[in-house]
């Protein structure tokens, strides 16, 4: 599935599954933006049909409850805006 790309410092492969309306997702994005790291994200609520199904299938593999935000950093999954854990994992 194709995700939106945000340019920045490479701190590993970071993918963010988010909702465009969600407050904790925004906080997660702001954290990544402030740290100026490179990441990929997708707002699942803005996807439709097949695209959404694909994204949800991928997300389900990481987080069976499919909650947002779900962050995957080099194969490690962090569910929810766990500020300290995110910072520690990325090294920011």
């Amino acid at each position: 599935m194709e995700m939106d790309h945000v340019k920045g410092k490479n701190k590993g492969h970071i993918s963010l599954y988010a909702l465009s309306t969600c407050g904790w997702c925004k906080k997660t994005e702001r954290l990544l933006d402030q740290a100026k790291v490179e990441y990929y994200y997708t707002d699942v609520d803005l996807l439709q049909g097949e695209e959404r199904e694909k994204a949800m299938k991928e997300l389900k593999r990481w987080n069976p409850a499919c909650t947002f935000p779900t962050l995957v950093i080099d194969g490690k999954c962090i569910i929810g805006y766990q500020e300290d854990e995110i910072k520690e994992t990325i090294g920011i």
Binding site: C22, G23, T67
Partner: protein, 170 residues
């Protein structure tokens, strides 16, 4: 294809003020982190335009109102989450302890059961017969407050509507 919906700052401000007023009257509190709270209010307004109802901004809508009734804001899970964690799932509403800085605010686990479990619970509750209730349940038509007692209260403790605004619910 993406459908981005625009919501103006005035709309956000207006609803923010309204929710804040109503929350305080009802004994609830909005999150004092105004940036976060307004992000959520914007999300609610986007969802209203997109789906026709106030789908919880932090949960994916099915687009079918009947299936999302439990996550229309304020959702069925707000009060138990306020009790257990001092915040609703999105952190739109927070407890007095959080407001006072006595309880730390952070992300909380999702309380909403998975779809299969919700379906199961639905069929189960439909089997419950009215005669199994030890008391009648009254519903405030203004705000939906429910109470199980012989008669409705003089005044709704949540929205202050008078006794005559109550209906027999079950």
């Amino acid at each position: 294809m993406k459908d981005e919906i625009e919501v103006s700052e005035e709309e956000v401000d207006k609803l923010y003020k309204k929710l804040n007023r109503e929350a305080e009257v009802g004994g609830y509190h909005l999150n004092p982190d105004v940036e976060h709270t307004k992000d959520l209010v914007r999300g609610i307004l986007v969802n209203e335009k997109r789906y026709g109802y106030w789908n919880c901004p932090c949960r994916l809508s099915s687009g079918i109102k009947q299936d999302d009734l439990d996550i229309i804001c304020p959702c069925d899970y707000r009060d138990p989450d306020l009790n257990d964690y001092g915040t609703c799932y999105c952190a739109l509403y927070v407890s007095q302890a959080v407001l006072n800085g006595e309880q730390k605010l952070g992300p909380i686990p999702e309380r909403r059961p998975l779809l299969e479990e919700r379906k199961k619970a639905q069929t189960k509750s439909a089997v419950l017969s009215i005669s199994s209730l030890p008391l009648p349940v009254w519903r405030c038509k203004v705000c939906g407050y429910l109470c199980a007692r012989d008669e409705p209260p003089e005044v709704c403790p949540v929205c202050k509507a008078k006794k005559d605004r109550f209906e027999l619910f079950m």
